[in-house]
Symmetry: C2
Subunit: 208 residues, 2 copies
């Protein structure tokens, strides 16, 4: 089955978001990252800044959230007020990602989309990483991060992404076998990463 | 820097060895797996069957081995009799892999070659995996493994490979960020995996 959806998980500063954007342009499909956040904001009535922060970086140990998920309400699209704002963001966001995947071929960066869409067979799940030196340089050049803080900030962001992923998926972040393709953007370069993923996404020889 | 050496680590039954063979043919370079084992056997004076078993699947907790490695003798090519046979195999094998990498462009499957050659900048390190159903079918078709035993046997072999890798490298096996390219052969197919790796190995746009 030819993939319709490409999900991209990435270490901070690996250029994974940029690869996703280049890929969506190459494949001529929709691209979701901040735009997705804005949609979530609109739908949930929660503040944009809060969603941007919690949508990928927070984790809770809410008893209510686990209960809510375990009884299968998570597919209903309804995120009750009794849940914490972080958990509500996660639920609204998950339902939005499912709806987007249903609607159109696209590239989705971050937001644990690989896990949220795990039951679909038309997803190609990608992980982008690079060594710390590459990511420090990338973050300084692209995100206005001061060079002195870059390494610490990268490690903190990766740690919070990993915690968030573990909390909402029960799985370890960055394990090769969770992704169909994992690439070192520092070694391979962004363009080659885009080309590898685009070729795989175009291939109708891809097995389900 | 254009890669000269491709190392391939792989889950049992993922077809990683076959991809390595196809890749070496495509790139017209030497291919090392069993041939490497035979060379180790000849050099160490240890029995071939023993090496095949311990070279990738054993782990020890030898105090002597750790002491030997910590004082930096591991690069000397000398594996003293006082060490266990498993540790001697590892040391002789490591030195052989270093010598091969120095000698000629090649594809090396297994044997923790990615870790052994970690100081070289001309290596492209690859990990091949697939889901358990694919690997059960592959093992039954290619390795004469009875279908009833296949799943258990695959899990046991992966576990011993992971233990061996952790013992000799101190690292977790199968973490995406340890490899430049990690691919799901069940999803992508063996030929596409070969093509992706070959394109990256040929690219002189590859950054060191």
């Amino acid at each position: 089955m030819k993939p319709r959806i490409v999900t991209i998980s990435r270490q901070f500063g690996s250029g994974g978001r940029t690869i996703g954007e280049m890929l969506a342009k190459e494949l001529n499909v929709a691209f979701y990252d901040k735009r997705l956040i804005a949609m979530v904001a609109k739908e949930s009535g929660l503040a944009l800044e809060f969603i941007e922060e919690t949508g990928e970086y927070s984790s809770t140990n809410s008893y209510l959230f686990n209960m809510y998920m375990s009884v299968g309400y998570n597919h209903s699209g309804y995120a009750p007020d009794v849940l914490s704002p972080a958990d509500r963001v996660h639920i609204v966001q998950s339902n939005l990602i499912r709806a987007i995947a249903e609607k159109e071929p696209c590239v989705i960066v971050g937001r644990s989309a690989d896990y949220i869409l795990q039951e679909r067979e038309d997803c190609l799940n990608v992980f982008i990483h690079a060594d710390i030196e590459y990511r420090v340089n990338y973050a300084v050049a692209h995100y206005d991060v001061p060079a002195a803080d870059a390494k610490k900030r990268i490690e903190r962001i990766d740690k919070t992404r990993a915690n968030h992923y573990r909390h909402y998926t029960g799985q370890q972040w960055g394990v090769a076998s969770h992704y169909h393709i994992a690439l070192d953007s520092g070694k391979l370069g962004l363009t080659r990463c885009r080309d590898i993923i685009a070729a795989a996404a175009r291939g109708d020889d891809i097995e389900a």
